[in-house]
Symmetry: C7
Subunit: 83 residues, 7 copies
């Protein structure tokens, strides 16, 4: 499953067009389809859902997320199934 | 809908002259027409409205927003309709 | 009104020698005439007034403001009339 | 045991494919298998567990962790055995 | 009075050997004679007084102030007379 | 005792393979043997002990400490004897 | 007394081998003999005393202080005599 991850950005590349969980400073959480990222870890997510305590807070659709406030990013297939 | 987004800044480019929702650190929120942006994610919005709990707090018209305090930016067409 | 704004700094350039509203982190607000700015968004304002809840807190005259603590800058003509 | 550590990143290199304990600002703690890291100390962990007071909070599987929020990283073999 | 201010640092240059008011993050305030500054807005002040609520807290004489914590700098002639 | 310290990093170099006290932001303290450091003040410590109010909180063995959160580093021979 | 201070770092250079007062973010204060500094304002102090409300909290001897957390540095001859 983890083949081909030589550098941290490889995981983001493998997650393109897949659902990811993004956890921000200040305990904010987003779930959405990863469309694009850059070396600053700026992201574009589609069908983004803002979550609070595993409950949907609101849908914000297509979203540009600044990398600066991100703590971690997980493919939703591994992160959400186990919760 | 998400055609042509290869890099995060492509979403900002697609949103020019359209209404966007900008969420800042410290729970401040702005809605306005995106006129310009740069690689630091500094923005210029027109007809900017400062929002608090989805209520209009004040109109601040034309505004330069420093990228440094931004958490996320969403096209208002997707972000606001679903709220 | 918004002609000629291709990049965010164009708004600052258009606002030279005009009154601007500057909002800082920590809810500090200044109103003054924009004399100069640089790419770090360091500003010089003249006839600067420190505001608190739309009331004048004190006059601090000519002021150098470090860009680092700035959240947004608005031409006072659009920002203040609508409040 | 500590042979071959000339520069700080050598410890991360020695810890590849091994379990590490990662402590973040704000008292968050993760345990997982270190798959990749870069000079910004961005990490990819596999089988990541989010811990709280030495108790498992949740499994988040494969995870990209931004270096920016990390305080320390320890090989789990030395860090966890002694707790 | 404001002739010759093309760039923000021009105000600091004009204020050399004059008294300035320096306001730091965390509401600390210093008054002293500006002897030197650099592009990081590091300052050296002489006859520095640490102020609290417009009262003298202590004299700290010659002082190196790191630019990083500075919010604004005003020539004391304009800032202090009007208080 | 302080011969040969021309630049700050010389003290770290002199402290290699010796016990150091590392004080972090947020009042965390570590004691361990300094194995390696770089210009970002990232450190590797061995036999690291996390301290709280001069009491041992836990042993975390071999540790990579990000420089970003460090306030000061002292050779334990001078820092701990005098406490 | 202030001859020869053209740039901020000149004050640090003049203070070498003299006692300085260093004030950090979070209200921590150190007094010690300045042995070395660099352009990041990293310092090495000898005979360092950690102070709290002008009382000695503890002796930490030889110390490397990261510039990042420093607010101001004063020659102790001017800063401490006047307190």
């Amino acid at each position: 499953m983890v083949n081909g991850i030589e550098r941290p950005l490889d995981l983001l590349n493998n997650s393109k067009n897949k659902e990811v969980l993004v956890h921000l400073k200040g305990d904010q959480q987003f779930v959405g389809t990863l469309l694009a990222f850059d070396i600053h870890i700026n992201l574009v997510l589609d069908n983004t859902k803002e979550m609070k305590d595993n409950e949907l807070k609101r849908n914000i659709g297509l979203t540009f997320l600044r990398g600066d406030t991100i703590i971690f990013i997980s493919p939703a297939s591994t992160a959400l199934k186990k919760e």
